[in-house]
């Protein structure tokens, strides 16, 4: 059966998480098609056609799809869903928003945040903040899946030459409207795609200190900045930096946890990192149990020293 991957994009380019979803889709057997639903999204559709392993790109273009509203994007996917055995989304804010809507309309279960494909109907997915891994089998005719990006290598963004087929865009459902957005503008790598992440916790004590201590080290390492839920709750860092069960799931080459005690919910979001460094003055902090290198020290002296030394 053919697999349809729903691309995440900004109308101009394809978001990185889509590449991981394409690579997961490739493991399901069968051709991989990609849907680019947007407005004036020709460039994104062309980019999707370049992804290695993609056999065909469906490009739906219309005003109803301009802002990725769940009601309209789900309707668009449902319009095209016939004939596909798997509908695959990246487990991003946007994928998580739309996929269950599609699954419910098809009267099928959804498989959330799969981390491994055992066969075309059997998957592994983490439960309880990653403290257990469930192997689940779906008997539904169509499998609606969201893919945890860190668990699958990104498909090469170039090397493919799929045909782009225009499909009619759905009309506007009319029940929801985009009002506006505030997107953080940053020169830093995206958190979920970064090779190095410097993350700060509650021990930093204030938003000023968070910025003063974490930012220079991140700059020096070319790293993305992350934060624990405690730091976000305390207002030291914005929510989109949150790493953990309820925030972003990351797996960089190097994760530096500064003043983070290591609550289960935080570990769930970063324990697949290749190398973990923990800097904390509490020798009993649970973060040390997962850290490759632990430095028991006062972060306010250790981190500036580390920034100097790297």
């Amino acid at each position: 059966m053919t697999v349809l991957v729903i691309a995440e994009h900004d109308n101009a380019s394809i978001k990185g998480a889509t590449l991981n979803a394409v690579s997961a889709a490739g493991q399901l057997g069968g051709d991989v098609h990609v849907l680019v639903a947007g407005q004036n999204a020709g460039a994104a559709a062309q980019a999707a056609a370049q992804i290695a392993g993609v056999a065909k790109v469906l490009h739906a273009d219309g005003a109803s799809l301009a802002h990725g509203l769940a009601e309209n994007v789900a309707a668009q996917v449902l319009e095209l869903a016939g004939g596909y055995g798997h509908l695959v989304f990246a487990a991003t804010a946007s994928g998580k928003n739309v996929a269950p809507r599609v699954a419910a309309r098809l009267d099928v279960a959804q498989l959330s945040e799969i981390t491994k494909i055992i066969s075309a109907d059997t998957f592994e997915r983490p439960i309880y903040a990653g403290n257990a891994i469930a192997t689940v089998q779906s008997a539904d005719t169509v499998k609606v899946i969201t893919v945890r990006g860190t668990a699958f290598d990104a498909a090469p963004a170039t090397g493919g030459s799929a045909a782009v087929e225009a499909v009619a865009a759905v009309g506007d459902a009319g029940s929801s409207a985009f009002v506006g957005n505030e997107l953080a503008k940053s020169e830093r790598p995206e958190l979920t795609a970064a090779k190095v992440i410097v993350s700060g916790g509650r021990a930093l004590g204030s938003a000023e200190k968070f910025n003063e201590v974490i930012t220079p080290l991140a700059d020096k390492l070319g790293a993305a900045i992350g934060a624990s839920r405690a730091a976000v709750d305390a207002g030291y860092a914005p929510n989109d930096l949150q790493v953990g069960q309820t925030g972003k799931i990351v797996a960089p080459q190097l994760y530096v946890a500064v003043g983070i005690s290591g609550a289960i919910q935080h570990l769930a979001g970063m324990k697949d990192s290749k190398v973990i460094v923990a800097i904390n003055k509490d020798p009993e902090a649970p973060i040390f149990a997962v850290a490759d290198y632990g430095l028991e020290a006062d972060l306010f002296t250790a981190v500036p020293a580390l920034t100097q030394a790297v």
Binding site: K96, N97, P100, Q110, Y128, A177, G180, K248, D292, A297
Partner: protein, 249 residues
């Protein structure tokens, strides 16, 4: 306007669950159970909307075993007016819960349904969106701000890279993110009052919903462990290890 708030009874978020030796699931015998934290935020938001005069009644719903009534009493203590318990011992998956809730929405006709964005046990993040789809109503997921004005709600959503604001026509489904509010502490007088609030019991059969699971769990296993590494003496030693041993900088 009524607000319906579904709440789920889950293993308390401070408990580190253990996988059962036979691989059939996680051991939840004798562990502390609580209301799913995101649902607590949902109840708080509904109660605040009532306090502001945007809603007239808050109805809490929980689907599952008899002990879900404890979770409903917590919702009533936060300030919900009455509760509905959809009682079943069957395993409930998100699609089944969404169908049960859709049936209750049919009976109660709430202007808003506010749910947690995900439960911290199965981490599915599906029920709200599925409910919206079954009802063919708009959704505003991962909310960090909700304002109701007339027949619309304006909701600020936490998305990758920042915030997005959408306007949805009521009735609508909202799912909560962490920063929406900080739930109040439940006081003893309110716990006592909650015991006297009405709690109605129904079954999936009463609602005409087939809750048979669609996904079969073949096994549950421990995640690949991560060995603790070493402690380094100082910053210089750390830099040396990162450069020469791990080779990541």
């Amino acid at each position: 306007m009524k607000i319906l708030v579904p709440v789920k009874r889950v293993v308390d978020y401070n408990v580190k669950v253990r996988v059962k030796a036979d691989g059939t699931g996680v051991d939840i015998a004798n562990v502390k159970m609580s209301m799913n934290p995101f649902d607590e935020i949902a109840v708080e938001e509904a109660v605040r909307l009532k306090e502001k005069g945007a809603a007239t009644e808050v109805i809490a719903v929980s689907c599952g075993v008899a002990q879900c009534q404890e979770t409903l009493r917590t919702a009533l203590a936060i300030g919900a007016d009455r509760a509905i318990h959809v009682e079943t011992d069957a395993e409930l998956q998100p699609l089944a819960v969404a169908k049960l809730l859709a049936a209750l929405v049919g009976k109660e006709a709430p202007g808003l349904v506010i749910l947690g964005k995900q439960a911290i046990d199965d981490d599915a993040n599906q029920t709200g969106q599925m409910l919206a789809a079954l009802l063919d109503r708009p959704q505003a997921t991962f909310a960090s701000k909700v304002e109701v004005a007339g027949d619309k709600a304006q909701v600020t959503r936490e998305i990758d890279g920042g915030l997005e604001t959408v306007a949805v026509s009521l009735p609508a489904i909202v799912t909560t993110d962490l920063r929406l509010n900080e739930p109040r502490y439940v006081t003893l007088p309110n716990i006592m009052k909650a015991k006297k609030k009405p709690l109605e019991k129904v079954t999936p059969a009463d609602l005409g919903v087939d809750v048979a699971p669609r996904l079969k769990t073949l096994k549950v296993s421990e995640p690949a462990g991560r060995q603790a590494g070493i402690k380094v003496a100082d910053v210089a030693a750390l830099v040396d290890k990162l450069k020469n041993e791990a080779k990541v900088i």
